[in-house]
Symmetry: C2
Subunit: 200 residues, 2 copies
Amino acid sequence: MPEALTVRRSASLTRQRILEAAILRFSRSSYEATTLRDIAADVGIDVALVHRSFGSKEELFRQAARVALDDGFQRAVEAPDLGAAMAAHFLQPRLDQALKMVDPLDIVTHSLSSDRANPILRELVQQDFILPLTQRLGCGDELQAALAIACLAGIALLRDVLCIGVLRDASKDQICPMIEKLMHACLAKDCEPQLSEPSS
Amino acid sequence: MPEALTVRRSASLTRQRILEAAILRFSRSSYEATTLRDIAADVGIDVALVHRSFGSKEELFRQAARVALDDGFQRAVEAPDLGAAMAAHFLQPRLDQALKMVDPLDIVTHSLSSDRANPILRELVQQDFILPLTQRLGCGDELQAALAIACLAGIALLRDVLCIGVLRDASKDQICPMIEKLMHACLAKDCEPQLSEPSS
DNA sequence: CGGCGCCTGTCAACATTCGTTGATCTCAAT
DNA sequence: ATTGAGATCAACGAATGTTGACAGGCGCCG
């Protein structure tokens, strides 16, 4: 049964290669700027096969985003020092198994403002980022979690999408402590300190 | 010479109306999703006139972004309590003179990941946000300013573009103090507490 | 061994959309 | 009436997702 030997003409292998190429493309350009023809050319196949393997561009993007994000953040969220772990996870590009260097957030930040990718990313951000972080906090304060994620997304955005110089050039030693401080400010458990709400 | 009486067939007036419609459209959809035909329909004119009035879509977007951002942030940055002023400026939609309600950041956040709008927005963010804030800080730490802007952009993005529920539903009383705390964490003068660097 | 049929992959074309442009029309001022 | 700028019309050219018809190898069954 030469199932594993079927190197040529293997649908699953082709799907895998398409998915990897798609992750790379979607991590570097927006949903709209990334064309199925580009991805097809990377794999060395025809456009039609890309389309037929995933049904539609939207579905390809959805699966690419799911695979790219993987459960990396789930693990980061379980670390003892939450702030440091989140800072590290979002700041150093990750080396995926067979992929090139890809920051897991790139695929999110590069297509945030695309209408088609929008609902997909909303679901993903909600389920894969805000929800686990909320549960980890235990405080039940989803707003804190959302704010923390928003800050990290904003930083990644200005750094990797807008390419703001000072953010790109900052060394890890320089920026990591600031992110940690930020995360601590976001996630500080002041849900009920002693009800010290100054009446404005 | 009835120059001001030329209500009909006035190029400058038409330009103004196109610009207003463009700001509205670009504040609600991405650069690519916004078509010149949409804008033309809003004004009630032909596509060609929109194009001829501004030379190109890119130029229209550039001018729309410039006008939309105005110098609102410049003023916010001069307030005594910087954190509170920035939180207020970015969180409450502003009522522009003749325009509908538009958050000045919307036009930035909605097109962040568009390739065409990217260089325009980078320049804008650098000049109109990071630079003034850096100068206001006086500390010369551009990284702090960039981080603060990044956080605000991220929050606006998750709230207004991704439409994350918990951020959309949060009341101003709920979220404003948290933003202020964040801004203070970003902008805290811990660069040289006792040694004041001579203003360059 | 050999024809059959399925799965993988290709080719060409469609339908649509959008920015852009040149010719043309229309109105107001001279 | 003439002229010139404001405005329109129709069309181009390019790009892209999508689709259907077709080709080629591979296993299956006779």
